[in-house]
């Protein structure tokens, strides 16, 4: 159940992030062309779904060290970049001949990835703030 929840979270986050990125990208590279949005939206949903599949891979049961965790994040990042670039080439979102469009695309995916990571970290911070308050109350009660 947790895995499905995580997949849904990533799906929604990637969908929101890629939609905003697509808007920026279209604004820069396809400013003068008529926007054919219907197909693109479905393509974004497919890309977000493929990104969320990273949660299907079972996580290591053992506790990971800090470095192994960083490696885990790096592998996740490589997976997401590979999925998004593959989608970009397959759905012809980017012009392969223009290296600048490829670089901008990678930059946007990177920004979205780290924004999502920062958002999740911030949500965790808020949660632990509440837990710390409860912990203090628990400790005070035990001292009484």
């Amino acid at each position: 159940m947790n895995r499905i929840k995580d997949m849904m979270k990533i799906f929604v986050n990637v969908l929101a992030g890629s939609t905003i990125s697509a808007a920026i990208y279209i604004q820069i590279f396809y400013r003068d062309e008529a926007f054919q949005g219907g197909e693109l939206l479905w393509q974004l949903i497919i890309a977000a779904f493929l990104c969320s599949l990273c949660k299907v891979i079972p996580e290591p049961k053992k506790e990971l060290s800090k470095w192994r965790l960083l490696l885990h994040i790096l592998l996740l990042y490589i997976y997401e970049i590979t999925v998004m670039l593959s989608c970009a080439f397959f759905f012809k979102w980017i012009d392969e001949d223009h290296i600048s469009s490829v670089i901008l695309f990678i930059a946007l995916v990177t920004i979205v990835f780290f924004l999502i990571a920062a958002g999740l970290y911030y949500a965790g911070l808020r949660e632990t703030k509440g837990l710390n308050e409860k912990l203090k109350r628990y400790q005070n009660k035990n001292e009484e």
């Binding site: 996580e59 049961k61 506790e63 965790l69 885990h72 994040i73 970290y121 965790g124 911070l125 949660e127 632990t128 837990l131 710390n132 409860k134 912990l135 109350r137 628990y138 400790q139 009660k141 035990n142």
Partner: protein, 145 residues
């Protein structure tokens, strides 16, 4: 609460019976107090047996199938399995934080988020212990006052 003290025969084992309408928090605290006030845990350090007060324990950890007691400065080995300790300290301030650690909630200075839904507990002795994601809901439940 009525307290009844009865004499027992010399060959009988001394016992305490609690007659309660339900296991409310006060009853659980009373049981815990009875269990821990006299309870000492046997730890081994440098081939010497040491009696450790549970209140001084920061956490228990399994390393290579051996269980260790971590106090503020000292570490002792204990000849018990982690699940036995978990059972023994059920409904006390001890909490299973991961597959290999049981932590004393009173020794946690603060909690902070770690990657992937895990938490990092900073203890009062400066050590950091990871709380596994699967054990976080139990912590939340335990801290519900």
């Amino acid at each position: 609460m009525k307290i009844i003290i009865e004499d027992c025969r010399a060959d009988e084992e001394e016992s305490i019976t609690i007659r309660s309408k339900g296991m409310d928090e006060a009853t659980l605290q009373l049981i815990y107090a009875l269990k821990t006030k006299s309870q000492r845990i046997v730890g081994i350090s440098n081939n010497k047996t040491v009696m450790v007060n549970p209140k001084d324990i920061y956490y228990f950890e399994t390393v290579d199938n051996r269980v260790y007691i971590y106090c503020k400065e000292n570490v002792y080995e204990i000849r018990k399995k982690l699940y036995e300790i978990e059972e023994e300290f059920k409904n006390t301030e001890f909490y299973r934080a991961s597959k290999s650690v049981i932590i004393n909630l009173n020794k946690i200075k603060s909690l902070s988020p770690a990657f992937n839904g895990r938490l990092e507990a900073l203890l009062y002795n400066g050590e950091k212990v990871i709380i596994s994601r699967q054990f976080v809901p139990a912590l939340k439940q335990k801290l519900m006052l």
